[in-house]
């Protein structure tokens, strides 16, 4: 039974890490021995040599092939630049079952931080799907908040000229 992500094997340290990318988890193990890294993913072991040229900048030799990549760490996530593409990953703790995100139905959260320029509805109003509920302005562009379904306005959380932050709930609607 594995208790921790560190395992003594071949007299060297083995590291287990799980990366999450676009809602998939990738289980990877890494062992270091001498100048080699043994990386196991999806039942395949890759034996590589690697050099960190500058902080975050890697040159990895795998067989006759060279991988050049750049990695940087954000607050929670890591970014990998490889072969012209950028991938954002989060190291995750594996707990046996993977949590799946509940799909939010009819998201009325502000897509952006900005200023409310117009509120089109008030409490008690009946609205139809796609009706404009609120107009938010950011960087001189307008973003429309539309009703995701037919319903009745329960609460309007912002008024004109209010500052609104990304993710804040704009209008609460009860679905009909």
């Amino acid at each position: 039974m594995l208790d921790a992500g560190v395992l003594e094997k071949r007299g060297c340290e083995t590291v287990f890490i799980n990366y999450e990318h676009e809602n998939s988890v990738y289980n990877v193990t890494i062992e270091r021995k001498d100048k080699y890294y043994f990386i196991t993913y999806n039942n395949t072991e890759y034996k590589v040599e690697a050099e960190e040229l500058k902080p975050g900048q890697l040159k990895i030799k795998i067989g006759n092939r060279i991988i050049k990549s750049v990695i940087t760490e954000g607050e929670k996530e890591k970014y990998v630049f490889v072969d012209g593409d950028v991938f954002k990953v989060k190291p995750v703790e594996l707990t046996g079952t993977r949590k799946t995100k509940k799909k939010e139905k009819g998201n009325l959260n502000s897509p952006i931080s900005g200023r409310v320029v117009s509120v089109k509805v008030k409490k008690g109003d009946n609205v139809k799907k796609d009706d404009v509920l609120m107009v938010i302005e950011a960087m001189k562009m307008e973003y429309l908040i539309r009703a995701p379904f037919d319903g009745k306005v329960e609460k309007v959380n912002f008024k004109e000229k209010d500052q609104i932050e990304i993710g804040q709930n704009t209008v609460e609607i009860e679905e009909k």
Binding site: E13, N43, V89, P111
Partner: protein
């Protein structure tokens, strides 16, 4: 040129490249534009305090503000650009069109009148017919602009355009005009001195736009012919002469499917996309701006000018194409620029910089030039693939796919290109490639301390240790 520089900056830009490059720097304080970069009295005072002789307004904020040009003039500081009167005239899109029409430059049919109430505008709109364009009279950069396809949407679009225009430019006058079929946006760079001489420096094709914001610009245009270039260039010079234009400017035209051209507007400043003209003509536009402002005569003659090769510019934005192109904010953990001959990167970013939502999310303008259009496209794709920007989402994958599009390669572009071919574009989800996994694993092996390693709560059902007979890659005999 041996000229000393003073840079102004707001609190959030204290480490910006322009600040680091300047000889002297003065902070404008609060990052909110109206209190900093749009604060005319403050900027004038700084210019006086530092004994600046001239101000270059760049291409945003106050670059096309006649009050600013006038304020400079009033205190004896040279504004590097045309006179306040010309900026004012060209800034009023209605007056600009009337002036151009009188000078014999073709314009698009539309309503440019004073009746600005919604009811009158709807009436005028119906006369012009659909589709039509609602445009902010004081606008630019797609702000306060709406395309209307039917009468039902006209009212709401007029009001929306007015609101946007009011907030962006402090003026809610709009005009209506006929929407051109298969339109291409082709503009001409001009230079005029203060002695009545005007030349043009050929065209720039800026048809690839998203929400009326240019994203890819190139020169020469794939549809341009020698004859059309001559005619349009002449019209651009006529337009500039009609208003006694001095300094660098751009005359924007719309071209329809039959290569008829119409005057759109004149930008009374240096354009974001000016580097592609510099790359193909060998002329330093900013240097000429300074020479002209100092009263020097244009030494360049039209007949001596020529373009060589082809250049493309891509605008790199901190925005998420997969999420409705919403601006992406965050700290740039790593920035590395592509380098090589004929690659020019005009950027304002650096490792560790925080991207905020105070200003436009443009990070960089990447420009390449080669002998031919085809080579330039390939070189740009290469350069974009070697541009490392980590920490925010950028439009780089989107730009690459546009450049790789068959119709783009053929030069079949209109201002509807993005709408036609990339309407609900999202990045193809390919999952994490093995090279990324290996890179992460190596990185974490180097940087993770044992105690920080993720702990398992139970046996990993997918543990590779449960399987036997692993493959080994990267060793002889595989």
């Amino acid at each position: 040129m041996g000229i000393k520089t003073v840079a102004v900056y707001s609190d959030v830009d204290k480490n910006a490249p322009h600040v680091q490059l300047a000889d002297e720097t003065v902070c404008l304080g609060n990052p909110i534009p109206i209190q900093s970069y749009l604060n005319i009295p403050k900027i004038i005072k700084i210019a006086q305090d530092t004994k600046a002789e001239a101000i270059h307004p760049g291409y945003g904020f106050l670059a096309e503000n006649p009050d600013f040009a006038q304020s400079c003039n009033d205190v004896g500081i040279k504004f590097i650009g045309p006179s306040a009167d010309v900026i004012s005239l060209m800034g009023d899109k209605i007056a600009a069109k009337t002036t151009m029409e009188k000078a014999g430059v073709p314009v698009i049919p539309g309503y440019h009148g004073d009746k600005q109430d919604t009811v009158s505008l709807i009436k005028e709109g119906k006369k012009i017919g659909f589709p039509l364009l609602v445009k902010a009279a004081a606008g630019g950069g797609g702000k306060g602009m709406r395309i209307v396809y039917s009468e039902d949407a006209l009212g709401e679009s007029i009001e929306g355009a007015k609101r946007e225009s009011k907030s962006a430019f402090g003026n809610d006058t709009v005009f209506l005009e006929k929407y051109i079929d298969k339109p291409r946006h082709i503009e001409f760079q001009i230079l005029g001195d203060e002695h009545g001489n005007v030349i043009h420096l050929f065209e720039r094709e800026c048809s690839v736009q998203r929400r009326h914001q240019k994203i890819i610009e190139e020169t020469p245009s794939p549809v341009m012919t020698t004859k059309l270039r001559e005619k349009m260039g002449e019209a651009a010079v006529t337009a500039a002469k009609a208003v006694n234009y001095s300094n660098a400017g751009t005359v924007e035209f719309m071209i329809d499917g039959n290569l008829n051209f119409y005057f759109m507007e004149m930008n009374t400043r240096l354009q974001v996309e000016h580097p592609i003209t510099e790359m193909t003509t060998g002329i330093d536009l900013v240097k000429w701006q300074l020479r002209i402002a100092s009263g020097m005569k244009l030494g360049l003659k039209q007949k001596d000018l020529s373009q060589r090769g082809h250049a493309i510019e891509c605008r790199i934005y901190a925005e998420d194409p997969a999420n409705g192109f919403l601006p992406s904010v965050g700290v740039l953990g790593k920035v590395e620029f592509p380098t090589g001959p004929n690659i020019r990167d005009d950027s304002g970013i650096y490792t560790g910089m925080e991207i905020t939502s105070y200003y436009d999310p443009m990070l960089s303008k990447l420009v390449v030039s080669t002998e031919t259009r085809e080579e330039s496209i390939n070189k740009m794709i290469w350069a974009l693939s070697h541009y490392v920007i980590l920490g925010v989402t950028t439009n780089i994958p989107f730009l690459k796919q546009v450049l790789e599009h068959e119709e783009f390669k053929k030069g079949n572009i209109t201002t509807h290109f993005i709408e036609n071919y990339f309407k609900d574009w999202t990045e193809t989800k390919k999952g994490l490639p093995i090279d990324a996994i290996i890179s992460l694993a190596v990185y974490d092996s180097i940087h993770t301390k044992s105690k920080e390693i993720v702990r398992y709560k139970e046996i990993d059902p997918h543990s590779p240790w449960k399987h036997v007979g692993r493959w080994r890659v990267g060793e002889k005999g595989v």
